[in-house]
């Protein structure tokens, strides 16, 4: 998490050095802290939210309202369950069980800002891509790691709050819903909500 914090600080410094850039078409970067909330099939393995996460995207502003881009995200889900006995057909295992799941979606997306003006500018978006999933279940200290690449579809909504009238730089507060099919280890999906806050700034 320290490296993530440093990364966000560096990006913030770069952002405010770019305040003179006027709102225009071109490349922009989004960097967000992301809290992942497991839902649906994900809850078979973890019920606690993931506070270890971020999202980022590199977007091209086709117009002042429409952007397309490529995004990457990361969330680390972890939960430890107290010792209990798991019964099988011809035996049993007593163990402390820990589930560790990392999701790294790589998503092509489109984003539309609904209003051109105003202090708060709502947006909606959608994307699809590949979800790189690292899934590891520990019985005691013994694990069974697995890595999968699956499809992912994402919907998003939120608001941009511009920091300046003359720049496309804006604070972003939003949420995503991630449809993440899995079909492994007895669960059909690793769907999740994402709640995020971050910043968008133009690149030279």
């Amino acid at each position: 998490m320290k490296s993530l914090s440093k990364f966000i600080i560096v990006i913030t410094v770069v952002l405010f050095a770019n305040n003179s850039v006027k709102a225009q078409n071109g490349l922009e970067m989004n960097v967000n802290y992301n809290v992942g909330l497991p839902t649906a099939g994900s809850k078979d393995y973890v019920t606690k939210p993931s506070f270890r996460g971020f999202t980022g995207s590199l977007d091209y502003a086709i117009t002042s309202q429409l952007r397309v881009g490529l995004g990457i995200g990361f969330n680390d889900y972890y939960q430890k369950y107290p010792r209990q006995v798991y019964n099988g057909s011809d035996g049993a295992i007593s163990a402390v069980l820990s589930n560790s799941i990392q999701q790294t979606p790589l998503i092509a997306h489109i984003n539309y800002t609904i209003t051109k003006t105003g202090f708060i500018r709502p947006y909606v978006g959608a994307g699809a891509g590949v979800n790189f999933i690292s899934f590891d279940q520990y019985l005691g200290e013994f694990d069974n790691p697995s890595t999968k690449a699956k499809a992912i579809v994402q919907g998003e909504a939120g608001v941009f709050i511009p920091v300046s009238r003359y720049s496309s730089t804006a604070v972003k507060i939003g949420g995503t819903y991630n449809f993440a099919p899995f079909n492994e280890f007895g669960t059909s999906n690793l769907n999740s909500w994402g709640v995020q806050a971050g910043i968008r700034f133009p690149l030279h």
């Binding site: 998490m1 320290k2 490296s3 993530l4 990364f7 490349l27 970067m29 270890r52 996460g53 971020f54 980022g56 590199l58 091209y60 490529l70 990457i72 990361f74 680390d76 972890y78 430890k80 010792r83 006995v85 019964n87 057909s89 011809d90 035996g91 049993a92 295992i93 007593s94 163990a95 402390v96 820990s98 560790s100 990392q102 790294t104 790589l106 590891d136 520990y138 019985l139 005691g140 200290e141 013994f142 694990d143 690149l203």
Partner: protein, 214 residues
Amino acid sequence: MNRNIKSTTLCFLAIGFLVLNGCKKDPLKNLSNDDSRIYISNYDSAANFASYKTFSISDSALVIQDNHFLGRVLGTYETNVISQLKQIMQQRGYTLVDSSAKPDLAINISEVINTQTTIFSYDDYWDSYGYYYDPGYYGYPGYGYYSPYSYGSYTVASAALEVDLLDLKNATADGNKITAIWVGLARGEDVFNNNNVTTEISTLFAQSPYLKSN
């Protein structure tokens, strides 16, 4: 412009992957030695545990390291394991007899140690079982052993206590085959610590309530 977009995208992805590498919580760092241990019990579902009345137990434990038989050991830990097993088996209704008294059941104890971080399988343990334990000790010379259990492979250094409950009563009827009707395995950190003997044996038996003579 296209070249700029391409190089910026690559930088963006590279930074992203570097950052996320440091963000994973390591589950092993959140486990105590007690948490690290697992207890596995397997049993032959065809066995009628109430049909056995007497048992005998090995007088020491075998040490098998990296698939090699190192010898027998009888220290404080092994003495306590044997004592606990005698006690709990008698609580479950079985009568302790000498190995020469034709017991219905035999209990063998093994310490299986893997010091290499390479693929290791307990199948090897059973492949060599007849070499480790002479069936003649229990009065069945020339018999073979049979185990329907397999624990799979793992890739970490580890130690395990294995307790095998063997069916002597039906060995001849089974075609001169001594079947392991119950196997208990404790694996993980500090497994050979004397302070953990009671927990290890009682946990294995607690999750095997069918293992009783009455």
